[in-house]
Each structure stands twice: as C-alpha cells, then as structure tokens.
Symmetry: C3
Subunit: 341 residues, 3 copies
Amino acid sequence: MSHLLSIDSLSRDDIDHLMRVAAKMEPIAQRRKITRVLEGAVLGNLFFEASTRTRVSFHTAFSRLGGSVCDTTGFTFSSMAKGESLYDTSRVMAGYCDAIVMRHPDKGSVAEFARATHVPVINAGDGPGEHPSQALLDFYTIDKEFARQGKSLKGAHVLMTGDLKFGRTVHSLIKLLALYAPLRVTLVAPPGLEMPSELIERVSQQGLDVEVRENLAGNFSDVDVVYTTRIQKERFTAEMEEGFNLSRDFTVHRAFLNEHCNDSTIVMHPLPRDSRPDANDLDVDLNGDPRLAIFRQTDNGIPVRMAIFATLLKVEDQIDKDLRDVKWFVPETVGVDDARF
Amino acid sequence: MSHLLSIDSLSRDDIDHLMRVAAKMEPIAQRRKITRVLEGAVLGNLFFEASTRTRVSFHTAFSRLGGSVCDTTGFTFSSMAKGESLYDTSRVMAGYCDAIVMRHPDKGSVAEFARATHVPVINAGDGPGEHPSQALLDFYTIDKEFARQGKSLKGAHVLMTGDLKFGRTVHSLIKLLALYAPLRVTLVAPPGLEMPSELIERVSQQGLDVEVRENLAGNFSDVDVVYTTRIQKERFTAEMEEGFNLSRDFTVHRAFLNEHCNDSTIVMHPLPRDSRPDANDLDVDLNGDPRLAIFRQTDNGIPVRMAIFATLLKVEDQIDKDLRDVKWFVPETVGVDDARF
Amino acid sequence: MSHLLSIDSLSRDDIDHLMRVAAKMEPIAQRRKITRVLEGAVLGNLFFEASTRTRVSFHTAFSRLGGSVCDTTGFTFSSMAKGESLYDTSRVMAGYCDAIVMRHPDKGSVAEFARATHVPVINAGDGPGEHPSQALLDFYTIDKEFARQGKSLKGAHVLMTGDLKFGRTVHSLIKLLALYAPLRVTLVAPPGLEMPSELIERVSQQGLDVEVRENLAGNFSDVDVVYTTRIQKERFTAEMEEGFNLSRDFTVHRAFLNEHCNDSTIVMHPLPRDSRPDANDLDVDLNGDPRLAIFRQTDNGIPVRMAIFATLLKVEDQIDKDLRDVKWFVPETVGVDDARF
C-alpha cells in the first residue's frame, strides 16, 4: 500500500491489517495514551471542496500520532487558477509534506495527483468517485459492534436504505463487504435511486447474497445493521427533481426499529443526517437509543484514519514502543458510547 | 467548571482561581518557559464568524500548553448547510477534539452546542450574547496593572465610555466587577447607546456604586481605569443610524487624560479600535503613552486563555512539574510593555 | 537581521550565513532527522492574499523546526474592515506569535507592519514589491546545482527570460546576483516586458555583466542557468493587453535547450508555470529531463525558509545538538531529484 485511493485496490489482507492496526490505536483515540511516532512529519490536508468533519477527522488522526498538519481549504488552489497542472501542484506539495489527504470535486483527480508524487496520498473523496476511508470506518464499526455483541461477521445481514444511486459510501461499503462473503445484503431505495445493477451483479458474483426490496414494510427481524443514507438532492438532474416526491416511507425511526427489527440491530449513517422535521433519512427520535451507532461510527473515524496513516508511513509496529500516559482530563464517556445524550 | 459559556455561571471563587492560574502561566506566555502538558490534545477552534485576533489568541494559548489546534473558519459549517443540527455537529466534534472553542453569530448557539458534548466548550462570542474570556482578560489586566501600581482593587473607580448598549464586553465586565464590590463605576455613553437600565439595577443591588454621567466634561481625577469601546454601527437599526451624528465628544485622547484624569489612570479598549482620523473611541495620539494599556491587555489574553484551558482540562497543578527553558530568541520587550512603540 | 523584508537590506555576509544555515537544514528538510529546537514557538502565517504553495512552504519549514503554526488566509483581516490600522494589528499579533510571515497585496505594507512589532517579520510578498525568500531559494538552488556539477559561481552565466518587467522574482534575484559579481546575466523579454533600465544600470555598476538580447534565437551554449518566468497578464494595463500578442517565441522547451544550450544548463522557474498547451513560459516537454530544476528549486524552499527562521530566532547553532532520527517511512526520492517523474 503506497496510496489509499480506492476500495478496489485493497485486498482482504490489506483490510484485515488496517482493522488490526486501528484496534491498536484505540487507547490513543480514546485519549488514555499519547504517542510521538510521527513527530516532525507534516500532513498536507488539502480540501478543494469543503468538508469540515472529514477534514477535522484526518487532522486529528495525524495530530494524535504526533505529526503536524497544514490545512488548505477552498474551491480553487490559487496557483491552479493561473494554469498550473495537478502534476505540478502534486510534485511541489510532495517536497513540503510527508503525506497528503485530498478531497476534490472531480472524479479521478486524486488518483492523477497521486501519480505525480512520491509521498502517500489518501483520497478523501473525489466527487462522485470514492471515499475509501469512510468505507473502512464503516466496516470497522460493524466489526467492533459485532464483537461487543458477541456476533460473528459470517452470515451477517446488512440492510442498506436511502439514496443507493448517488451515495458513494454505500457503493464502497458493499464492495468491501463482498470481500467478506458469505454475507447477506438487502437493498431498499426510493424509485430512481436504486443501487446500480452492474454493482449488484459484481458483488453477487463475489458471493454476496443480495436481495432488493421495494420498501421498509415487512419483516427485517434478522437484520444486524441498518445502514441509511441522506437523499443527495444536490446531485439530481432537473428531470429527477421534477418527478421526485419523497414521502417519509424510507425514513428509519424508532417505530421501524421496534416493530420490524430486533433489540441488537444497530443503525448507521455516514452523516451528516438531515435533522429537520421533514428529514427522510434517519429520525432524531432514535437519539439516546443504544442501537443508534452513528456517533460511535464517527468516533471510529479517528482510529481508522490513524491506522491508514500509520500503515502508509510504516510506523504501525513502532506505536507500542512509543506510548505515554495522557496528562489532561478526559471525560469518562469519550470514545465509549453516546446512549446517554 | 465543565464549560465556559457565560460570566453569569462563574463564582468569585472560579474567577479567583482563573486569575491565580493565569499568573502561573506568565513565564510561558512571556516565552521564558515552555510546557508539554497538553501534548496529544486537540483543540477544535471553530469560528463560524470571522475574528482573526480572537481565533489566533485561543490558537496560541492552546499551542503554548503543548496541544495541537484545528481551525475552522467560515460563515457556515459545510454539513449544517445540508440540514445538520448543532446537536449532531457538536457530538461529532466531541469525538475528534478534547476541547472546543466556538464563535457563532446566534445568541445561545454555543450553549446549545455545549449541551450535546462531553468535552469542554468555550464561548468565544455568540453574537449579541457573551464573550466571557474577554471579560476575564479585562479583569486580569486591571488586577495586574493595579498590582504594578501598588493599588488595591477595593474601592477602585472604573469609567466605561462609548457604546454601552451593544458592547457585550462592557456588559460582561460590569457583571464581573459586581462580584468584587465595593467598587465605583461611572458610565458615559452617547444618547441612545446607554447601558441597559436593568443591568445597572442588577449590579447596583450587588453593591456596585454606579454613576451615570452625560459626557466626558468635568472632573475624572480619581478614575483608575478608562474603559472605552468602539461604536458598533453595524448593529444599529435604520432608525438609529438616521438620527446618529457622533461628534468626537466621547473620544478618549491625550488631552482628556492629561486634563481630566491623573498620571496613573490606565486606558483600556477591547479592540479593534478605529484608527481613522474621524474615530470616536480612542485616539492614536495616546500611542506611546504608558497609560495606554490596550496592548498589555491583548497580551494578557494569552495567559488568561491558557488558564481557561488548563482549568477545564484539569492540568493547572501539573504545569509546574512540566516546564523547560525556551531555546529561541525572545525580544526583551515581549510581554512587558508597549510604551516604547 | 531582525526582520526579512527586502533583498536590499541583506549584505553578502547575511546571504552567505543563510546559505550555510540552509545547508545544515538539509538532513531535516530531507526527513532523515527531526528537531525540537522551536518547540513552544508560534508562527503567525498571515496571508492577506492567497498563495497556497508559499503558505504551505513557510508552514512546513516552521513545523520541521518543532514550532506550531497558526494560518490566516483571506483578503481582509476581519478587524481591518472595522478601521483597525496595520500598526494595531501588528502590535496585537506580536503578543501572540514569536515570528510573523506576511503576504499582503500592497507594496510597503509588510515593512509598515514590521515597524510596529518586536518579533521578527518575514515579507512573503507585498504585491509588486519584494518576496525575498524566493530570491534566496533561487540563489541557494543555483549554488547547490553548481556544487553538484563541480562548477563555480564565479563568472557563471544566467539567462533570464519571460516577463522581466512585472516579475518581482527576477528583480530580487538580479539584485542578489550583483552582490556576487563578476557574473554574466543575459536578459530576453517580449517587447513591453523588459527589465527596468534603472535596475540594469544599478546592477551593472555593482559589476554585473548584463547583456540585453531581443529573442531566444542564436547561441546560448555557455549559459549555466535559464531562469524563465510566467507572463503576468493580470498586471497588464488595458493598453498593454490590447497590443499584446504573445507567440511562443519566448517559451523555453526541450528543443531550445538541446539546440541552443548545453548538457549541464539547468532550467529554473519561480512557479506556478502555465501547463496549458498555449503556455508561453516553460513547456511541459522538459518534464523528466534532469536539466529541469524547477522541483528541486521548490524543494529548496524548505531548507532556505528553515534557515531564515533559525537565523531570525537565533537557534542556528543549537540545531546540531537537537537532532533525532525520523521514525516514519520516507520514500528514497524525497529531496533528491525529480528526473524520474
């Protein structure tokens, strides 16, 4: 692994390795330990497209490993406006930074950027393309929640709902899950927002047991994970917007969980979720319910991104030798749970 | 103290504690010593409303304690534009950061943010609401200047002038001073910009000796502190703007100080001050006069904000054990005085 | 040296010192060593005008010395919009930071800023004014390339081409080279973009052998360095734009180097270069040619800016005592060469 650009380039061994390293990062992510293993290293955290939470998450992960971070935000790189190529920008940044995180609105641009540099590049989202660290933290969350419940990943049942057409997180996650087949995945999307059929075909051939259902009515009592996503109206064509009249039929709320699922079903969401009254992804009435795993999920972004940095910069075996106790006060709930909120 | 949201929630003991801790921070703030006590900790420095000086001041204070800072600036949090609630944003950030500083244009928003998180939140200004760290550094400045002059706070006389209606710093400072009554406060504001009467009533009941005067003519020879503020025309209603024709009658300048005050009267201002020729808050002709304390005042922002962080993160007793000498060159004027400029 | 504002204020001794210190920084810049010599120090990295690469370069240089960086970007300082003077901004920032890097669109503004502060200020570009660290890294690059080739600076021949009227980097570089006369400089610019004659006169009087030629035709076989610059159309007057019809006659490309120069001629450019097909500064067909030194040149920004900070903060003699090995993985090409890309 020299870059992290796409889930497609990861083998099951790569993922298993990242999951193991992420687990090793927990004492640091939960602020019981600190490390200086990346002391002196500089991360270029380049966000050509705004995304506060992802940027802060990468920033924190690198900081917690002892490194320094230089953020850049804004829709255009000032020099690109003067005709500079991604090649030049990339090569120049490689002289300044030891690793680069990049979000860019154009699909493929991060891979192009990576080709011109000799330092590790992490794709933090290239428009409709990929956002591999999100799929990795989603998978880490499922793994960790199952371990807590004493469940096995083998034969687990994941329900994906919401916008399965434009939601790049569900595309990446289903590809990742396919590496761990046999597994069951059920897909429920509003008309017009279905998962692309070629993707369903591909993961089915890899051994994933995929079922497509039209709505959330009926029995989901053996579902282990409900993964719901926001309807991304900003990606709709004018034609789609015209015909679209989304009811709350696809909203996951407490009643759905109580009546159709079971006591240990966890609910995930890549966030941000729409918290307005007419939201149609995930209702706020689940706030405080221990099955709502969305904040444990974002918390997991830290150890997973730490694992990505540690692996790319090859310090994963040095962490254990470079741990000190935290000196400041950490509230006991940090990194544990969000049920009490 | 789990958050710092408002002066109202601070007891005199809390303030005394912060003042003592701030004094302990002076060797670090003045760059004779360094500490690593917050090593590994991450501050989320969230400015939804621009304020370079306040942001940099918090950034530096956290850095000088050995922590890392992740800045966010801009009028909208990118995810909030997608309907995300302050609750969600807050809970997510709590998973990334060990403390959060937040400035936001809406009154009450920082407190709402704090309710959803288990890490300490500091209000760096919520619109017309509060900005408690400013009042604390103002009070610290008065205390320190008095100590230098051999004066006692008991029975001191503070003159507040300028915009006493919209200036949140004078509101916070007068509430804070009320905890230290007996003290005299004289208020002088242009018509329409007077201190709200309910606030005057409240602090008077707490024992503050408040006098309201119409202008700066007359005798102020026993005034120890002149606290002047900028006229915040951006907060005026259309009606106010129409009638308002501010002369320089309320401007504090060298002649006022020489003719109406005394040799040890200090001049404070929350800054920024208007330095244009028609400025009506504080004239530049006092630059270089040792009574002008405005830069000593901003300098004091560092030890006071360090004290806030140290107290919220409970490291104030560990500082003494974790001090090293500074290795780099520090000009001898740093942290001392600004009279020579 | 208390500030770095202009090449004019540097003596040959100053420059020799900076070059020696920069060479000492190479093991850190190339990521074989780390230092903590600036631990606890805070850099105010103030960019009132966008410039990602320069901002990141200063940020990294300060970070690699062990310091913390607080970036500010944006066209207006929020407080300046309220009438605050550069004097006040500067004095306030001096209370927060141990060194200040500033880019500002107005010529002279950085020097004005420096007058009000007691901490070192570095001019990172004041509009059409100066950008001294660029000239220093250009000179360091020439020196380092010559050392690699076994050449001496004495009697070297530098060709400057492109926009010699608005390009502040060529102005600064020629002034710097004049301190090292005897040296030959040949100037080739499109009509209307010639080097100002008073500058040519000045450096000639200092002993520089300056020749002006009209185009790139003819023999340049004894040229050691080709320094080309971007045509800055954004600085043209309306009148200039009208008449201007730039052919590619002034473009430096592989054929020019092969046919008119020699095997050891190096090509430099302050970047960004225009990589679009109609670019008229430096063709991408030289990518991969070892004579193209533009990325070694930007890489050199790190040790040179580290040397500037170390000199201004007087830690250049402490570096040797405060070095540790890097723990993370560094690709072998970092800091070495870009010929393979």
